[in-house]
Amino acid sequence: MSTKRAYDPVPLTLSKTIVYRASASAVVASFLILLLVARLFQLQIVEHERYATQATDNRLTTQTIPPPRGLIYDRNNNILASNRIVPSLAVIKENVDDIDNLLTNIHALVDFSAAEESSFRTRLENAKGDERVIIKRDLTDEQLAFEAVNRHRFGNFLVITEILREYPHKALASHVVGSVRQITVEDLQQLDPVRYRGSKFVGRRGIEHYYENLLHGEIGLRQVEVNASGRVMSEISVDPATRGQTLTLHLDIELQRVADEALGDRRGAVVAIDPKSGGVLALVSKPSYDPNVFVTGLAGREYDQLSARADAPLFNRAIQGKYPPGSTIKPVLGMAGLAAGVIDWDLEFDDPRGEFRLPDSEKVWRDWNWKKSGVGGQGQVDLFRSIYRSSNIYYFHLGAVLDIDTFAAFLGQWGYGRNTSLDIFDADPGILPNNTWKQDNTGDSWYPGDNMNFVIGQGFTLVTPLQLATIATIFANRGKWVRPRLLLSSEQPVELGQDYPPVQGVAENEWERMIEALTAVVHRGHKGYLQNGLAWAHIGMDIPYQMAGKSGTAQVVAIPEGEEYDEELLPEDQRKHALFFGFAPVHDPVIAVATVIENGGGGSENAAPVVRRVIDSYLADIVAKNDE
């Protein structure tokens, strides 16, 4: 082939072999084409059904539409919990093949903390293949624009719209409304998998938790056509979600604000109840927290940070804080004595020194007014005076004649020792001790000395601010029960449960007499030393309406025998708790309020003004409304 020869054509002769082989090639080619046709026949005719289904599966995806949560309003149609639509950055798990590369892209797009990153990794790991895993909620306009412009770089990302819960009053109503939070793996084991398919949130505290069933709504289904990377191309059919029910609460957010401001920076709680309906008008626990962080936060650290705080903002003092009732228990005990027939309004006890001794005992039980110098006696004390002067000595005498089980049986009717609310699921029952209780809890029997502590509200008995407010409503209603409740109305009526029967064993006129005594606590003034109502100097001098109430001051630490209590000498967390409950107007009460201020000092001095401020505001509101 080295020589470049001129073309010397060799004519073509179709020998037998050539013809045979050319024909053979045509047969082979035809056979190969036939093979392809057979394969086409297999795929397109025989297995058509299967591949058609496969193609449909590829293209159609059923998405769940999480229902918008029901809204929550206060009694005056102020919104307490609403929904807002936010753009969020998400990724479909299946589309993530290189997580490190994905994270690099995320960091280029949004601020992404280490905590958020680790939470994202966990959620991605636990997600199902076609699940959208949220990377960041509530994108800013800048982030959205950046994503849109750089979509080719971030091909895996999706910007989806999410409906997020919003609590416009932030920390103000959080202990009532509660909050939703991200559904966790543990939650999923307890929730209905069908109903919660596609739901990202579940109510975890307060109303959001108790009425979860009403608020959640029903999921919708949407069939969409998606492309290979999961982006929705078109919508085929929609079965819309059903919004959760709108709930209206008894709560009055403006009154809530007043109560919140009245407490200020002090730790404590205020509960206000409408004694006619039992509706909770205000329920404040301080410090509080902003529930919105549980909604947008994806890092899972918010809860830990809040629960680590020493002042426990997540702790709902109004319904779970248990405090010794102190002197607030005295009017109830007086009613117990009257019901038992061991005292009447004329019976007097002499109190020369502010000291009391049980028979055959050297132990000295002291009045709060006791002085080292021996001048702390309150003189002749009857039941009426025992209330407005809050005499310990009177109740020591009562405690010496009435046994604990009789007291406990009577106090049980008032809601001590149980959660009497209709829809506050996590309200603490507090403690109402009796013989059996003490035996069960301490292994010891009830001693006469226990009775002495019990009658001044310093023993085993513990109440929550909600219980204290409930007791105020029982006084306001002259023994008639209305159980506390938050829900005023819902779209479909809810059966909340029955009220209790009225308090038994006390005649009508006894109620009026006791309420007079409670009114004297606030209004009895200008009578001179040891003669005025205990709260008069603090709230009663300029009060324009009739209010009844009772203070309490609960000791946190025991004061050694023979020593006077000196607040200045005690560290803050050992100071007394200030308590007060009251209701107004006395003859036709429209509001009953209780407050506890932790380590707040004397009840009349510190707690009573809080209660008055709340009642002032509420009554002024009613007056204003009547004028309209």
């Binding site: 020998s15 050539i18 397109q44 591949y51």
Partner: protein, 380 residues
Amino acid sequence: MNDGLGSRSTRAHHHFFSGSYGQTFQFDLVLITLTLLLLGFGLIVLYSALGQSWSGILNQGIRLCLGLGCLMLASQLRVSTYYRWAPTVYAGTILLLFAVELFGVSSKGSQRWLDLPGLPSFQPSEFLKITLPLIVGWYITTRNFKLKSLDYLALILIVGLPTGLVFLQPDYGTALILLIGVAAMLFLCGVRLRWFAGGLVLVAISAPIIWNFVFREYHRKRIITLFNPERDPLNAGWNIIQSKTAVGSGGLTGKGLFEGTQSHLDFLPEGHTDFIIAVIGEELGFVWCVALLCCYLLIFSRLMYLSTTATNGFGYVVGTGITVIFFGYVFVNVAMVLGLLPVVGLPLPLVSYGGSSAITTMAAFGVALAVCTHKQDLEK
């Protein structure tokens, strides 16, 4: 090879459809008609596969016109011209293949493209569908159709060099088609069957040696993956699953043009290029797929027939070579899309989007027409 070509005898041949019109213009109405039908059909399908983009169709239309021009031009050259220039063209192609190896452009894991300044980028390996039949025909003709043992060695070297370069790009599909094409050429010009038996033995012996000593690790890996797409479910495996789904879901008559969900929702990769038959299968169904395959079979038959009407041995060898290689592309492409062969990345001739393949295929048709229908060299 004495019972095949070689003995001189004059044979006149006339046919209504083809031949020298006025001794100047070479033309074959059947082949041109079939080609135009195929091109038209291809453009319609491409319009759908490209998402109804007119600019894409315009681009492809220009390339096809260029290809038709090449066909017309190539068919006018004299047989002696092809014969004389065969070694030069071969050497040029080899140079281009070396250039690809040295500074080619990589795409999807293989280096097949050459991007020379002033020219649109192209795949030199596509030229081999013309060059290889020419050089093999040239060599056999220089040996006066009497091949001795040493000639086979020479042929192995002549064919092995460019095929090996293509193989290394790597473009296993093209390399395989070329080898089988050359084998078919030798078969068709009457090489004794024992030589094929010997060739098979040679392959059987050399294959393990090449596998172990010539191939590098990544070559071996790629070839293993070719035959086990499940090992790579996101790439090769995904393609096959989606193309089978596309074809199968089309059924008897298809989902209708522009209605293919697999292709238009991006499930089917390379729908407008290598996997175009899947789009046809999905949108037009079994009926049109079979029609398309029949059209290819007709083109094959026509080219084969034209080759047998050549007045000289060189024309016959070159014509059959071009025909077999063309058919090889069709079969391997369709078989690959239907999941019968591994995914090797070959276009469907005359239908897939792209210039190199369409233009060289039509140029090859032109060459085949020229070498098979020119009578002048004999009448000289």
